[in-house]
Each structure stands twice: as C-alpha cells, then as structure tokens.
C-alpha cells in the first residue's frame, strides 16, 4: 500500500470511535431541523454547506423561533470562532500544501476531525503524507454526518408533535455545557450569560442572545485574568 493510502486509512481508523458518538447527534439534528420547519433539502444541505454540529443545532433553534437572518448568521460566526484556534494549531503541519489542499482540509476541519489529527501530528511530526491522515479522518466524519442527518430527517418527519421534541434541543445544549463547567470562570460565564439572556429576552430580533453571549465571554475572560494575578 502506498504511504498516502496508509495515512488516509489510519485517519479513518482513528476517527471510528468518534463516529459512534457523532452518529446519534446527526440523527437528532436531522429530526429537530425537520420539526423546526426547515425543508428536507435545507435540513440536509445545512449538514454539507455549514458542516458544524453546534452551529447547526443553534441555527435550528433560531429558525424555530423565527429569528431574523442576520442574527442567525452573527450567531453562527460567534459559535464557530473556535475553529480559528484549530486552524492556527494545524497550520504549521499543513504549510507545505497547495491552496487547493488547504481549502479542502479546511472545509473538513471540525472538532472531531481536529482532535485525532492534532494528536497524530504532535506524536509523529510532519511527514510528506501526513495531510492524508486529516483527509481520512475528515471524510469519515463527513460521510457519517450526511448519512446520520438523512436518517434523522427521515425519522423526524414521523414524530408526532405532542412528544415535545423541541425540548430535546435545550437538553442537548445542557448535555454539552454542564460537563465543561469545572472552573469558576466557566461557571460565571455560563451563569452571567444565562441571566442576561433572561433580562434581555424582550429585545427585538433575538439580540438578547448575542448580548448575553458577549457578556458571558467577557465575564469569563476577565475572571480568568483576575485569577491568574
């Protein structure tokens, strides 16, 4: 087997344990998107155009609340800012590649593709074929995400309204946020954002959400700085 092929399949193999966790998420996303009133095509295409789990969940939530387009776009931007960190972190390992390769790998750069790849690169260093590893991990996740979304859309359209499936979305967010609440600045960021969101709830265009998020981010960052002194 060629070196590039081996690196590709190593990437796929490293991604498999993560796929098990991601698959139900894709299904939940698909089901919620349909129930939020998105068309089948838009629900599926969000998984390939945006291809970012938490941003897709939040978009679904905002669509169901009829938030205006600019607020949804702004929120997607804020939520996905963390990808700049991944981009910075992987950049030294991909610097020798052509722009086409860089663009392809950037499109596939999700939380779950980043995690095994950076571990591999920090362990092995840069080799001529290392980028195939990220391609393998990224494509495995991409395929898994598209299929699980489709299955969720298919099943979601058959779920009756009185099951209150919309509540699964805040529950998903609770499951994501509670485990990261370990240090005081994190807890303060979450609580302050939550309280501001309640106080600013009546602001038009769901702007309360953006305001609350900014307050939470600032509170967390300032507290971390104060603690470091």
């Amino acid at each position: 087997m060629k070196e590039s092929q081996k690196a590709f399949w190593d990437g796929v193999k490293a991604e498999i344990p993560l796929l098990v966790g991601v698959f139900p998420f894709g299904m939940i996303y698909g089901a919620l998107a349909i129930n939020a009133g998105l068309s089948t095509l838009a629900s599926q295409m969000m998984s390939s155009i945006v291809f970012a789990g938490s941003a897709q969940f939040i978009t679904t939530q905002l669509v169901s609340q009829a938030a205006p387009a600019f607020v949804i776009i702004l929120t997607i931007a804020v939520v996905n800012l963390r990808h700049m960190l991944y981009s910075a972190s992987l950049a030294p390992y991909l610097k020798h590649l052509s722009t086409k390769w860089k663009a392809l790998l950037s499109y596939l750069l999700t939380d779950e593709a980043y995690a095994p790849s950076i571990i591999q690169y920090e362990k092995e260093g840069i080799k001529p074929h290392s980028h195939w590893f990220l391609l393998g991990a990224g494509l495995a996740l991409w395929t898994n995400w598209q299929i699980s979304t489709a299955l969720g859309i298919f099943l979601g359209a058959r779920i009756p309204d009185d099951l209150q499936l919309d509540f699964a979305l805040p529950l998903t967010f609770i499951a994501m946020v509670v485990p990261v609440l370990k240090k005081k600045p994190m807890i303060a960021a979450a609580l302050s954002a939550g309280v501001v969101a309640l106080l600013a709830y009546s602001l038009p265009f769901k702007l309360g959400l953006i305001l609350a998020a900014l307050v939470g981010i600032i509170v967390g960052t300032l507290l971390e700085k104060a603690n470091a002194k």
Partner: protein, 107 residues
C-alpha cells in the same frame, strides 16, 4: 424564512469555512492575540447558556420560577444527570422522560 434560509446557509457556510481556512492559509503572517485565545474558550458555555436559560425559565412569554413550570423542572433534572453522568444521550433521554412524566402528572 424559507427564502431566507438559503441565504443563511450560504453565508453561514462561507463564514465557517473562512474561519477554518483563515490561519491555515495565513500561516506565519498572523498570530491570534492571547486574550482572544482565552476568550474563545468561553464562547460555547456563554452561547449555550444564553439559549438554555430562556428555554427553561420563560413560559408563554413571561418569567416563570414556579414549580408548575415543568420545563424548568425537567431541565434541572437533566442538569443533574449531565453533571454526574457526563453522558449526552443519557441526559437527553432523562430530560425527555422527565418532561413527559411531569406533564402527565400535571393532568
């Protein structure tokens, strides 16, 4: 919204891609300032909490801290589940079952 949704998807996708592509493309030309790096860690809990709180506390357009607010109760049960189990699917399942049972008890 159905007309707008494609605009949201296209621009949202483009922004997401740009962020992923930005520093891979600009390698060596630009460093993220330390403060911004720190701030980015607080984005997920801040944004998610800003969505969770109104979902739990606001009922029919008004704040409701009462025990009659079953979404608040089910949410608290889910938070406790998430805290101890750190298991996403279990948290969603327990929260949904709690909402269902509480709703049934209320009838």
């Amino acid at each position: 919204m159905q007309n707008n949704i494609w605009l949201v998807l296209l621009i949202g996708g483009l922004i997401t891609f740009s962020m992923r592509f930005s520093l891979i493309y600009l390698f060596g030309k630009f460093e993220i300032p330390e403060t911004l790096k720190k701030a980015l860690h607080y984005v997920p809990p801040a944004v998610l909490s800003a969505i969770i709180f109104p979902e739990l506390f606001i009922q029919d357009g008004a704040l409701n801290f009462q025990l009659t607010n079953i979404r608040l109760l089910a949410g608290l049960i889910a938070i406790i589940t998430a805290w101890f189990s750190k298991n996403t699917l279990l948290t969603i399942l327990v929260g949904m079952v709690a909402l269902f049972i509480l709703g049934w008890l209320q009838l």
